[in-house]
């Protein structure tokens, strides 16, 4: 069975006067996909959703819904939008209508349904989101979680082929998040195609078959929940998942400010409440590997990148040292005492190549 492509996004770029949140986005979304879109704030997650239904038209590039270009100038935008529901962070229920009228309005106005049909369908939907008894209430008489469930029912009343969710639970009281996620989870089980921008990582892991990690103006990494959450392939994804805190120093002169860097390491430790032992061990790595070993090895024009990555999530510290030039063999070429100190301060030492091809040591700090 081949998968049916529902949305194709090709070279989409969206530029605002000051920022370009989407530089080059390409992907295909298949029928039945439940995709969670994650990433730091300001990386264009909302912008991507708003481009897909043309709330904000892309600056360039094309988007196809069932092979029909929604970005084409002559496209019947309002007809294509009926196939894609959208659920907003701020609910946006129509304040001048009751709950049931909110749900009945669009099918009657746009699909030509009779009041009775729209009503019966609306009540059925309200029952599935557990709010049949609120049919005659006004939006301002509901809690946030209830509003969002009504908003989802309103979207479903148009019988869309897919639904875009933009942080549906971010405006909710933490105690109300569950009831909304439950409704979305049920939709996923029924096979609704969905694109969900969310910060609820556990929910994303459970419910989706794909995760988009957005960063750098693109879908930086697209994979299964397993891949993204357990084995992220790319660096920024890993930092995001591990909730990494960074400290970076670049050394390009033999006469660099040694004291300042030592002080920065101390400050980093204080800021993230690291144990004195860990801070000491980081100082040892810096002193023995960078200053005593790699700097002399690089000679007159050193080029060293010293980076501490502290993962809030796993409470682990990693130091990465990238350097230009030939690979350095620790066991053979390092001073015995220094090597012993280094071994003592770390749990593992690995070598690797960085994304731009430099040699790198990866040390896990005790």
């Amino acid at each position: 069975m081949t998968k049916q492509a529902l949305i194709k996004i090709s070279h989409v770029c969206k530029a605002y006067p000051n920022v370009t949140p989407l530089k080059d986005v390409n992907t295909t979304i298949y029928k039945g996909d439940v995709i969670s879109v994650i990433g730091p704030s300001g990386t264009g997650k909302s912008t991507l959703l708003r481009c897909i239904n043309m709330m904000d038209p892309p600056t360039s590039g094309d988007i196809y819904i069932n092979d029909e270009a929604i970005t084409a100038p002559n496209c019947q935008l309002h007809l294509l939008r009926r196939k894609m529901g959208m659920v907003f962070q701020s609910f946006n229920l129509f304040n001048h209508k009751t709950v049931i009228e909110n749900i009945m309005m669009a099918p009657m106005d746009l699909l030509g349904k009779s009041a009775q049909e729209a009503y019966d369908k609306g009540m059925e939907l309200l029952r599935t989101v557990g709010l049949a008894d609120k049919a005659l209430n006004f939006p301002d008489e509901l809690s946030g979680g209830q509003k969002q469930r009504v908003a989802i029912a309103r979207t479903l009343a148009m019988e869309p082929e897919m639904i875009l969710f933009d942080e549906p639970t971010s405006a909710l009281d933490p105690t109300k998040v569950g009831e909304v996620l439950e409704v979305i989870r049920e939709l996923a089980q029924k096979g609704m195609t969905m694109l969900i921008v969310t910060h609820e990582m556990n929910f994303a892991k459970d419910v989706s078959n794909r995760i988009f990690y957005m960063d750098q103006g693109e879908i930086y990494e697209d994979g299964t929940p397993e891949q993204i959450f357990e084995h992220p392939q790319r660096e920024l994804t890993r930092h995001f998942i591990m909730r990494t805190k960074l400290m970076e120093e670049i050394i390009t002169s033999k006469d660099f400010d040694f004291i300042a860097i030592r002080n920065n390491i101390d400050q980093f430790g204080k800021k993230y409440l690291l144990s004195p032992k860990s801070v000491h061990n980081m100082q040892v790595v810096f002193e023995e590997l960078c200053v005593q070993t790699l700097l002399p090895y690089q000679g007159e024009a050193p080029n060293l990148q010293f980076r501490i990555e502290y993962s809030d999530k796993t409470n682990s510290i990693q130091i990465r040292i990238a350097y230009s030039g030939k690979a350095f063999e620790l066991e053979e070429d390092m001073d015995m005492i220094s090597y012993a100190l280094l071994k003592n301060a770390t749990t593992s030492i690995k070598t690797a190549l960085t994304e731009n091809g430099e040699n790198e040591f990866i040390l896990d700090i005790k």
């Binding site: 907003f88 229920l93 009775q116 148009m158």
Partner: protein
């Protein structure tokens, strides 16, 4: 609603009765003109009496100005001023009707009235020829005797039954100065009007009479609306700079109207005096008919401008929000300009300048001006209402598949209406009250009628009270309609149910 009107009535009545008491002041006595040095004077707006008085009585620059003789006499009676400087025929009539005031025995200075024409008008010489003839054959003296006399039955105008082969004279006149130019039971009356008719007959020309505020007379000459104007207008060097005068037809004097110290209030009962005053205001000369006519004019202007303004305002608001940049700039400038122009000034500009040379009735100009004025305010009000609707509402409707137009009418407008309707109501009431200035372009509305009546009766109480009440009622009637709409569109009003559906 009834209650509201009633309590307002009581409040007004109390205010009018009490006012004179607050103004009481210790009395001075005046024996010669020079005793008036340092006294408090008043005169009519737009006259030159103040300057003339200052050239005769030392230290006489403390002047206040009134629009009508009746107001001036009220002020004098209630001791707000010591002397009302006025033309002698008016003073004599006022003194004859009000025993509480009298004409001071020494006149301030002689004065003379004349008809005024646009600079260089050939009509002036024609008037002069006839005036000379009337002076020689005694017609002029005869007219003076009739109009200054007490026999009201003789005070009738000529019928225009001559052919009028030589064209039509457009004649604007003041209407608040009995016996020179005023309004009687069947329309304008007065010495100058009678004289103008007789001159027209001699010239075999038709004459078209238009009532106009004294302050607007010279403007109507300059804008070409009128061929000749009068209104006991003194011939002065200053006025001669902007208009030409015919030879004087009346040698008057500027005199002082003062309180009559020897007057003792009659012990007529309060009820009787109210009765008499009611009679004078409404019954005599069928004056209530005037009120009804004025009322209809006010309602016509308010209703047309109200409805027209609602549409114009909506159009302006949409252009302002959706138009291209130059259109938006233009509309914004237009709105700002009109909002910062006093409506009186705008009305005069519209009538005397924009439509100065167009033959369009003043009533239409008034309706147009108020439509534009109300439209400008309504545009801002709509805009404010639309701004209160969160952009998320628009996005939600678009995302469901509504077109932008459907989105506006189904989602945005109904929500905005709840915000702009109450403000529109206020705008509308303000506009209705402001229509009271249309007298400036000679439209005879409710306020002008009230002025006419109170200039004849010298009674302020009933005309003012009735006018205030009528405005209150008009404004309330029309806002009641808006109130009903407001309740109708309140989504939480009424029983909660879904229309046209069998509920589960």
């Amino acid at each position: 609603m009834q209650k509201k009107i009633f309590s307002l009535l009581i409040f007004l009545a109390t205010l009018l009765t009490l006012l004179p008491c607050f103004a009481a002041n210790e009395e001075k006595s005046f024996k010669t003109l020079n005793d008036f040095s340092g006294a408090r004077f008043s005169t009519l707006n737009g006259t030159v009496a103040d300057k003339l008085t200052q050239s005769v009585i030392p230290n006489s620059d403390n002047f206040v100005y009134y629009y009508t003789v009746a107001d001036g006499i009220m002020a004098l009676k209630s001791n707000k001023v010591d002397a009302f400087v006025l033309d002698d025929p008016i003073c004599r009539l006022a003194a004859a009707r009000n025993p509480e005031v009298m004409v001071f025995h020494e006149p301030v200075m002689p004065d003379q009235y004349g008809f005024a024409f646009p600079k260089g008008s050939p009509l002036r010489n024609k008037f002069n020829t006839v005036l000379r003839k009337f002076s020689e054959d005694g017609t002029l003296q005869n007219l003076r005797d009739i109009w200054l006399g007490a026999d009201e039955s003789k005070k009738v105008l000529l019928k225009q039954d001559w052919p009028g082969k030589n064209g039509t004279i457009r004649y604007y006149h003041d209407y608040l100065v009995e016996p020179i130019v005023y309004v009687g039971a069947d329309g304008p009356l007065g010495l100058e009007i009678d004289l103008a008719l007789r001159i027209a007959k001699e010239l075999d020309m038709k004459i078209e009479l238009t009532k106009c505020e004294f302050g607007g007379l010279i403007a109507s000459l300059q804008s070409g609306k009128a061929d000749v104007v009068s209104g006991s207008m003194s011939i002065t060097e200053e006025r001669k700079k902007s208009v030409d005068f015919a030879d004087s037809h009346y040698k008057a004097a500027l005199v002082l109207l003062v309180r009559n110290d020897s007057y003792v209030a009659s012990n007529e009962s309060f009820i009787d005096s109210v009765k008499a005053s009611f009679e004078k205001t409404f019954i005599v000369e069928n004056r209530w008919k005037l009120i009804v006519d004025g009322l209809l004019v006010t309602i016509l202007i308010s209703a047309c401008a109200g409805i027209g303004g609602l549409f114009l305002g909506f159009l302006l608001c949409m252009l302002k929000r959706e138009g291209s940049k130059p259109v938006r700039n233009f509309i914004n400038t237009f709105i700002r300009l009109l909002k910062s122009t006093p409506i009186v000034v705008f009305l005069m500009i519209a009538y005397y300048i924009i439509f100065g040379s167009v033959n369009i009735s003043a009533l239409w100009v008034a309706i147009l001006a108020f439509t534009i004025n109300f439209g400008v305010y309504a545009a801002e009000t709509y805009s404010t209402g639309l701004d209160t609707v969160d952009n998320g509402q628009r996005e939600a409707a678009l995302a469901l598949g509504y077109t932008p137009k459907q989105t506006f009418w189904k989602v945005i407008f109904p929500q905005a209406a709840r915000h702009f309707l109450p403000i529109l109501k206020g705008d509308f009431i303000a506009m209705v009250k402001e229509t009271s200035i249309v007298g400036y372009i000679s439209v005879q509305d409710l306020t002008m009628v009230s002025d006419i009546i109170h200039s004849r009766t010298m009674e302020a109480f009933f005309p003012l009270l009735v006018t205030a009440m009528i405005y209150l009622i008009i404004a309330n009637m029309l806002t009641t309609v808006l109130d009903i709409i407001e309740i109708k569109i309140d989504p939480k009003h009424g029983k909660r149910t879904v229309k046209g559906v069998k509920m589960q």
